[in-house]
Symmetry: C2
Subunit: 503 residues, 2 copies
């Protein structure tokens, strides 16, 4: 009979979800706060996850003809003035560089010197600076489409920060494309949302709702913003990726013109799309349990940790050889485009060792002691199951079955998240129920996804936001035409939209 | 008989080397100046080269146990004050963030607002901020060695900039390691220099001289700086990579202490090492000719461009199918860890098409016209040869021989660069000859590498630098003990050092 194991993370999710998140991040050794206000340090275990995300997305982008490039970190102040609407949305909280050197003052302290004639902004996003390049690179329809992507750090000054979810500096990719026709730009906007959907569902094992933002929630200056929204375990929504159809708005601001086949001059149609290190926060909050992070195998930094158990010095050599042999055999196998990554942890620190790997979320742990070796087996545990639930597996079966085991964990995580979302998604048709849904408490957690009717007015949207801090996350693509009454004002509505509290 | 082809780049190298460099970069479509002072835009062809560099180095670093991480872009001013010597070397020219928002003033113009209580510096290098993390992450000998690397953008304000060679913002990697013993840190310093040497010579096809910096040329605060120095075609030296043994200096500044096995407290021994986008400038200046860039095949963004020649519309389908078949067959092959990357350029722009690819430096071009198709062949040109020197090769032989052809180009580039360096490296033993060597002109280019004796005094070193702008690039590891007289003061010297003008 399994003995009761204390949870590795305190508080648990149900005790205090925000605090649980902080503790999980800490226990996973993925990242930490830095001494620089609002900035995080991404530690090797977290950065390796990010590299896997980058590599997979790069592959998917590349297949659609997108090319990576790199644009300056700094944006001249006057560039922001070109895009009035855009600036309203972004430039209010950003890092401003005003000097280009340091000097010692008479007390020997370093002080800023060399004042710039025009301040520079540390990019909060690169629309304007990439637009300037596009305006020079594009002159004819032959130059279109222009399909660019950039992996970069960006800065948006934040007063209240949470690692991965909201930090002043974060890492992201921003795609920027220009097209000859409106249709092509709209198709690209959707194509990139499709890629995000596939990536997030298939690799991060996070089910998402796809849809369009309302005007109030759109990217500043965009004609249309499409997004994918995931449900976290506190039932709040997290936007995991967005793709914007910018019409000719940005082309006009940045003067991106081209000559058509019949020699007319026209403004290009542009798009932009991005995902960030925020996705990692989403992954943690989707799959993590009271014992720590759970890494979906297809994106995990490492797949398997082997834990040799050495009780007597004279057994050490044999057990280590046996362990090494298993590692070598596993490493020859591939799983979703990568070689299987195997850790061998032979530190002599007792039970803390296994728990460290549980908290880090490695998909598979395999203990290897003298008896396992005698039986030509390993004693394996899966991260998606109870830490106590381990089983003896014959060496050959373990090695040959590793990909299936990883796929099974991946599927379990996705299905579990999908079931959770379905359980907490409700069609709500009266204002009373709606307010009740978002205010009644259940272990400090309330609400979920409310699929409710909305008349389309921004007044109703604003009222609900003001009353409940609940926003329309998206108008889901899959939401069918259906007669109903606006949850706020009771006017006629033709489809349900997704309301939720959000990160 | 080959007709005389005009050079694609004007001016040529011998006419005006600095201007040639600018024109080559422009013609290659690798990068360009941005509207932001001192910053460059790295275009897809240049960025793809950088990604190949990153991927290969990551692989080599990883094999030695190094892990990637990410640290904040900003460094608090007081961090720099911890490292007095370090700051003298770096912090004088840097971007200083003093405000965290923008506001509209009464004229409606955006102005900086929200003054920070302490200014932040955009990292010129991350020694101090990584040191702070190390001081928290390391407490016992069990935590050592700690082997970290970061890929990042850094900023050092530059008044006179040249793309890839000297820009205010550039991309680089910075490795930072901490060790329990001096010996281990010294070994790591050399190990990383070995990796840089192997990478630069084997992948970038640039022969390098390995050695130690003199005290005057060392990294500020380091005990020892080792480096690799390459000769450009204007015979100047370019430092292609450095690796620093920092002793306990930085550990003391950042308070990186650990408990030894016998429970004593000691400061760790640290190293740092880096290469940057500057290497791309070196690659261009090592191999480029008067027709543009030449990409070494093992690092080239793409290996082969197929150029279908379609004179009649009715031939188009057949020629395109034939071309596609060749592309598919080539793409199944691997070359030095990557699939062979094939471009098909079917633009109808005449002779400009082939020249564009020559200027971009793609290793192999293959024209495919109706006659080539009839003969089941292609008409191939190699970038290391005269643009006119093309030959008909049977399709099968072309496909099966592609890796050998690429290796042959790679070897040619390395051997050519090595021969050039040897031709322009001289043992010089008198001050008169030395001054003559660095001042006499030959098509605006003079000097080269002078292997000369030096007494070891920084006065002699400074005098030569003042007179000739010539510095000691390194004390080569391979320089043997040999009695001689200092090239400057005539005092006794025991070995030759490498003098040159440098980028």
């Amino acid at each position: 009979m399994a003995k009761k194991i204390k949870n590795a993370i305190s508080p648990t999710r149900s005790e205090d979800y925000p605090m649980w998140y902080q503790e999980v991040v800490k226990a996973s050794d993925m990242a930490e706060k830095s001494p620089v206000r609002g900035c995080m340090v991404i530690k090797p275990w977290g950065y390796s996850l990010w590299e896997n995300i980058v590599n997979k997305l790069n592959e998917m982008f590349r297949e659609t003809g997108v090319k990576n490039a790199y644009f300056p970190l700094f944006i001249p102040l006057n560039f922001l003035e070109k895009e009035a609407q855009h600036v309203e949305g972004f430039a209010t909280e950003c890092a401003v560089v005003t000097h280009h050197k340091l000097e010692k003052n008479k007390d020997g302290k370093l002080v800023p010197a060399g004042k710039l004639t025009e301040p520079l902004i540390v990019r909060p996003t690169s629309e304007t600076i990439i637009g300037e390049s596009m305006s020079r690179w594009i002159s004819s329809y032959r130059d279109l489409p222009l399909l660019l992507n950039q992996w970069a750090n960006v800065v948006r000054w934040e007063m209240r920060t949470r690692i991965f979810l909201r930090t002043s500096e974060f890492l992201w990719q921003e795609g920027h494309t220009a097209h000859a026709t409106e249709q092509e730009a709209i198709e690209r906007t959707m194509m990139m949302l499709d890629i995000y959907t596939e990536f997030v569902e298939k690799y991060l094992a996070m089910p998402v709702v796809r849809g369009k933002k309302t005007e109030a929630e759109r990217f500043p200056g965009a004609c249309d913003t499409t997004c994918i929204e995931a449900m976290m375990q506190d039932r709040k929504a997290l936007q995991a990726g967005t793709s914007h159809f910018l019409g000719q708005n940005f082309a006009k601001g940045s003067d991106i013109k081209f000559q058509t086949k019949d020699e007319k001059e026209e403004f290009a149609w542009t798009t932009s799309w991005g995902v960030s290190t925020r996705m990692i926060g989403g992954l943690i909050m989707t799959h993590g349990d009271d014992n720590g992070v759970i890494m979906p195998p297809r994106i995990a930094p490492s797949h398997v940790v082997l834990l040799p158990i050495i009780r007597k010095e004279e057994e050490k050599r044999k057990i280590m050889d046996y362990t090494q042999g298993i590692a070598d055999a596993l490493r020859k196998r591939r799983y979703h485009g990568r070689k299987i990554v195997v850790e061998i942890d032979d530190r002599d620190i007792g039970g803390a060792r296994g728990w460290e790997w549980i908290k880090k979320g490695i998909p598979v742990r395999a203990e290897i002691g003298p008896r396992d070796m005698e039986n030509d087996s390993v004693f394996a545990g899966r991260r998606d199951k109870d830490p106590n639930e381990k089983q003896s597996i014959k060496r050959e079966a373990f090695i040959n079955g590793i990909q299936d085991m990883l796929d099974d964990i991946q599927d379990t995580l996705f299905n579990r998240a999908m079931a959770f979302r379905q359980e907490h998604t409700h069609n709500i048709d009266t204002k009373e129920e709606f307010y009740e849904f978002f205010t009644s408490q259940d272990n400090k957690i309330h609400g979920g996804f409310a699929m409710s009717h909305w008349c389309g007015s921004s007044e109703c949207e604003a009222e609900i936001k003001k009353d409940l801090s609940v926003t329309i996350r998206c108008i889901p693509f899959e939401s069918r035409t259906e007669h109903g009454k606006c949850i706020c004002c009771g006017s006629a509505s033709s489809r349900r939209v997704l309301f939720a509290k959000a990160y």
